[in-house]
């Protein structure tokens, strides 16, 4: 297991290097860049005076250097105008559009995005697992039909509609402010208990809305997986020992049905960044999905590059976590190659 862990970890570095190179290449692919667009705009307006500043920025950010060198500076393995100053040194880059460091542009929204989506995933699992297990254990029972019905409604209702309805009643009954992830007075305010409380209150609706659909889908999948596993001979063996069917289900099929969900963790993490965009827009959530879209359109390539790289990093980490968890949970993966007893 230790060797597998090291092997799996050592795979991450080359993967990340390859992804970062690809991202850098892709965001540079469209003709032109933010600064030359800026120059063209200023020329059109006849404001030649600012051109000096832009020329300074061009050399500052090494736009006159070859691509590979700029990539090296971005990563932090090549000395730029200010020496080594890239990701490896903790510098996330500069946003031209906001004229601020990327770190400041994204600020809290990165953390809020991760918080929102983490809470959503947690809710999905908390709702889906008990219900999925109940539905499989008592297949075709009243509870099974009831949850199935609710699940289909959850899947079929458009998320944005549900969020608008919930928002309306939350405002009506609890006086919750419409939209956003906190009450307006806390935006740009320093973190305090009140602000944290406000964030938690505002999390409920998006988490329920995004998580509800996800949970409905997951219940269906878990139920189907469990029902498949319940047909297996080892279940009969366990029943033949005189165990209750429910205990058998929890010990054997559930364990086997978990594998696909663990394998899914790799996909879940990047969704924390890019998922749930429509709901974010409708609820006016300060997540980074919309920021990415705008950055790509205006060729604000260090900002876009950072967000993409961040998502890639989460994917790579998620994949590694799911692989390691699978190895930990499934002896067939962990022990392949161990001599037989």
């Amino acid at each position: 297991m230790g060797r597998y862990f090291l092997h799996r970890m050592s795979l991450m570095a080359p993967t990340l290097i390859a992804i970062s190179a690809l991202i850098f290449l892709v965001i540079q692919l469209p003709p032109g860049d933010y600064l030359s667009n800026q120059v063209a705009e200023l020329r059109a307006q006849g404001e030649e005076a600012n051109l000096d500043k832009i020329a300074f920025m061009r050399s500052e950010f090494g736009f006159d250097r070859p691509l590979i060198e700029r990539y090296g500076v971005w990563i932090g393995v090549w000395p730029g105008a200010n020496g080594f100053s890239g990701f490896l040194q903790g510098n996330w880059g500069w946003s031209f559009e906001y004229n601020k460091p990327v770190r400041e542009v994204l600020g809290d929204s990165l953390a809020l995005t991760v918080l929102l989506n983490f809470a959503t995933v947690l809710v999905i699992y908390l709702i889906a697992f008990p219900i999925g297990i109940l539905s499989a254990a008592w297949q075709y029972s009243l509870a099974d039909y009831g949850f199935t019905f609710l699940g289909y409604i959850g899947l079929a209702t458009p998320n944005f509609l549900l969020s608008l309805i919930l928002l309306y009643y939350a405002n009506l009954w609890f006086g919750l402010s419409i939209g956003g992830l906190m009450a307006p007075e806390y935006i740009d305010a320093a973190w305090s208990w009140g602000k944290a409380r406000s964030v938690l209150e505002h999390l409920v609706i998006p988490v329920l809305v995004i998580g509800g659909g996800g949970a409905a889908a997951m219940i269906r999948r878990l139920r189907a997986n469990l029902l498949d596993e319940l047909q297996k001979p080892y279940v009969t063996t366990a029943l033949a020992k005189g165990l209750t069917p429910f205990r058998v289900l929890l010990k054997y099929p559930l364990r086997m049905a978990l594998n696909p969900f663990i394998a899914d963790i790799g996909d879940l993490l990047p969704q924390m960044v890019s998922g749930s965009v429509i709901v974010s827009v409708v609820l006016n959530l300060p997540t980074i999905g919309p920021v990415l879209l705008q950055a790509l359109r205006s060729q604000d390539h260090y900002l876009a590059g950072f967000i993409l790289l961040f998502a890639a990093l989460l994917t790579v980490i998620g994949m590694a976590v799911s692989d390691l968890l699978l190895a930990l949970l499934d002896p067939r993966i962990r022990l392949s190659g161990r001599p037989a007893a």
């Binding site: 297996k232 001979p233 080892y234 009969t236 063996t237 366990a238 029943l239 033949a240 020992k241 005189g242 165990l243 209750t244 069917p245 010990k251 054997y252 364990r255 086997m256 949970l329 499934d330 002896p331 067939r332 022990l335 190659g337 161990r338 001599p339 037989a340 007893a341």
Partner: protein, 592 residues
């Protein structure tokens, strides 16, 4: 004799999409305490359903319509017998019996054990379900039971996962799990069918020993009359859900009354007596020549080294003859078949077909070879596409090789159906409309579609019932005569091979250890492995029962333990030497 189990007029029905199926129809028999009763029948005879009914483990769509299953779980004669048929399947009273007073083991120990739980966990679970014990005592009892079940290192087995054990050890783990509470009844549902013959003999011996030690009764569900003759005290024969004949072993084997039972006895392949054998055409030219074939699969062996699948294999198959490759699982026989058909490429060696180098074939030459050599698979259920009609299945090879028109292809398909004894008007059906034996006929018809000269048959009858096996073997022999086919017949079953092979190659660990003409091999087996194989086959004959004491005394030995001159020490591949004309055997390097 006190009755442990009494089944009266049991009737079980299945609710199927196309109607009701009466799987068990008014069956009555008894299991005396401390005896072995064999429940014999073909697939679909209802024997497994009876086992499930006793345990209360029937599938959801099955229902006990009537009858009694009276079970006397304790020795006390005063307590009334329990009618298991009346108990709720999920209810506590039945669960208290299950695993405690009655246990079951299955055919496929790999799938019957959870792959992700340790053996110790799964075995001891049965103990903790029914008895209050400290963790330490539970572990001690489990390890005792594993030792009793023949694990050489029970401590290690306790920590092992099922996939780390060989097939035989997995079945021993199942037995340990079933018997740890010393039940009064063990239901063994085809417990040795998936195992190699040498392993089968050990497991039968183990079951017999434990049955005597624990003084339990065994209901042995099996299709194999050889197994029945060797261990059963009483026999119950089922056919189509009905009881055909029941009685003690002597009566059943010496005086079979019912015609069905007599047919069943006649169909059982035997190792003794005159084989129904045709005289092979004398000295035909070689159609297939294999020389010095080697194949190693990378990284599959222990410690990541390569696993030798085939090593130093040389033989010839004369045109019009049947050469059989016999060996247990892992002997490399299937790999060899695949190498010959170029489904896999060897590491070294040569394969010549009708004088041409098969390994060097490219393009059109290879396509021509594919027409001349065809493959028949073991499992007719998975080797036919369920979404293709039989007509489509039979036309497919012709379409791939661009032979004929739609009309001529259909005509060819009809001809093929007649050739294998099926009705041409059934061409429009799908495979699920056919029985296992009929499907295997279709598979054979498909292999014949291109008019091949060589058929590689990989365990073509192993998945079939015994009477059906005999029919398929007869068909293969007829086809060989009428079409002049040449067979390479791969099988683990010496009795089946005896019915059809002219020449036999015995493989062990990727190497041929003995080869001889069929009569020669059965009359004068020379190699210790061949002898062990022959000795381990249970014969459906009360006068030729397995010598369990001898089998127990001489555990199947590996190459380093074989007696001189056959002994192969580590790294010694040995060499083939000729004993008499056409009979050669592998010997090791002389001891220095």
């Amino acid at each position: 004799m006190h009755e442990l189990l009494r089944i009266n007029d049991l009737t079980v029905e299945f609710d199927l999409p196309n109607g009701k199926l009466r799987a068990v129809d008014g069956v009555s028999f008894r299991v005396p305490r401390g005896r072995i009763v064999a429940l014999v029948g073909e697939s679909g005879s209802g024997k497994t359903v009876i086992g499930q009914s006793i345990m209360g483990l029937l599938p959801r769509n099955a229902r006990i319509l009537g009858g009694e299953i009276l079970f006397d779980h304790d020795e006390d004669e005063a307590t009334p017998r329990i009618d298991v048929a009346q108990l709720a399947r999920r209810g506590a009273p039945l669960r208290a019996l299950r695993g405690r007073y009655m246990s079951i083991i299955f055919q496929e120990p790999m799938s019957a054990l959870s792959p992700v739980h340790r053996i110790g966990d799964q075995v001891s679970e049965n103990l903790s379900r029914h008895l209050r014990l400290s963790a330490k005592e539970r572990r001690a009892r489990t390890i005792d039971m594993l030792r009793l079940s023949g694990f050489p290192d029970p401590e290690r087995a306790y920590r092992a996962y099922p996939f780390e054990l060989s097939g035989g050890l997995r079945q021993r783990a199942m037995i340990a799990m079933a018997l740890i509470n010393r039940p009064s009844l063990l239901i063994a549902d085809e417990p040795t069918t998936a195992l190699d013959v040498t392993i089968q003999a050990q497991i039968l011996l183990l079951l017999q020993n434990l049955q005597q030690q624990l003084r339990m009764a065994v209901l042995m569900i099996t299709h194999d009359l050889g197994v029945v003759a060797n261990i059963a005290d009483e026999v119950v024969v089922l056919h189509d859900g009905k009881l055909v004949e029941a009685g003690c072993r002597e009566d059943i084997f010496r005086r079979p009354g019912h015609p069905y039972l007599r047919d069943l006895m006649a169909a059982a392949p035997r190792l003794s007596g005159a084989p129904a054998h045709r005289t092979p055409p004398a000295s035909a030219p070689a159609l297939l020549e294999v020389k010095g074939l080697y194949k190693t699969y990378a990284g599959h062996g222990k410690n990541g080294s390569g696993e030798v699948a085939v090593a130093d294999v040389s033989f010839t198959v004369p045109r019009g003859q049947c050469v059989a490759l016999v060996g247990e699982s892992g002997s490399g026989k299937t790999t060899l078949g695949r190498l010959i058909l170029r489904a896999t490429l060897p590491d070294a060696g040569a394969v010549r077909f009708d004088g041409e180098d098969v390994l060097a074939m490219r393009g059109a030459a290879l396509l021509r070879y594919r027409r001349r050599a065809q493959y028949i698979f073991q499992d007719p259920h998975s080797s036919l596409n369920p979404r293709m009609t039989i007509l489509e299945t039979l036309r497919e090879p012709l379409i791939i090789h661009r032979i004929g028109t739609r009309v001529s292809q259909t005509a060819r398909a009809r001809e093929l159906m007649r050739l294998v004894g099926l009705e041409p008007q059934h061409l429009a059906r799908y495979p699920n409309a056919f029985s296992g034996g009929q499907r295997q006929r279709i598979v054979i018809a498909r292999a014949l579609a291109l008019g091949p000269e060589l058929l590689v048959c990989d365990e073509p009858v192993s998945a079939l019932d015994v009477p059906v096996q005999a029919q398929i073997i007869r068909l293969l022999k007829e086809l060989q005569d009428s079409l002049g086919l040449t067979y390479l017949f791969i099988s683990h079953n010496l009795a089946v091979v005896r019915e059809i092979a002219d020449h036999i190659l015995v493989m062990r660990g990727g190497r041929i250890v003995e080869q001889a003409a069929a009569e020669d091999l059965f009359a004068h087996p020379a190699h210790p492995y061949t002898r062990a194989l022959l000795a381990a086959v249970p014969k459906p004959d009360l006068d030729a029962r397995l010598d369990f004491q001898r089998l127990a005394a001489e555990r199947p030995a590996g190459p380093p333990e074989w007696p001189q001159p056959y002994r192969l020490l580590r790294g010694d591949g040995g060499t083939m030497i000729e004993l008499t004309r056409g009979h050669s055997v592998r010997v090791g390097a002389p001891a220095s």
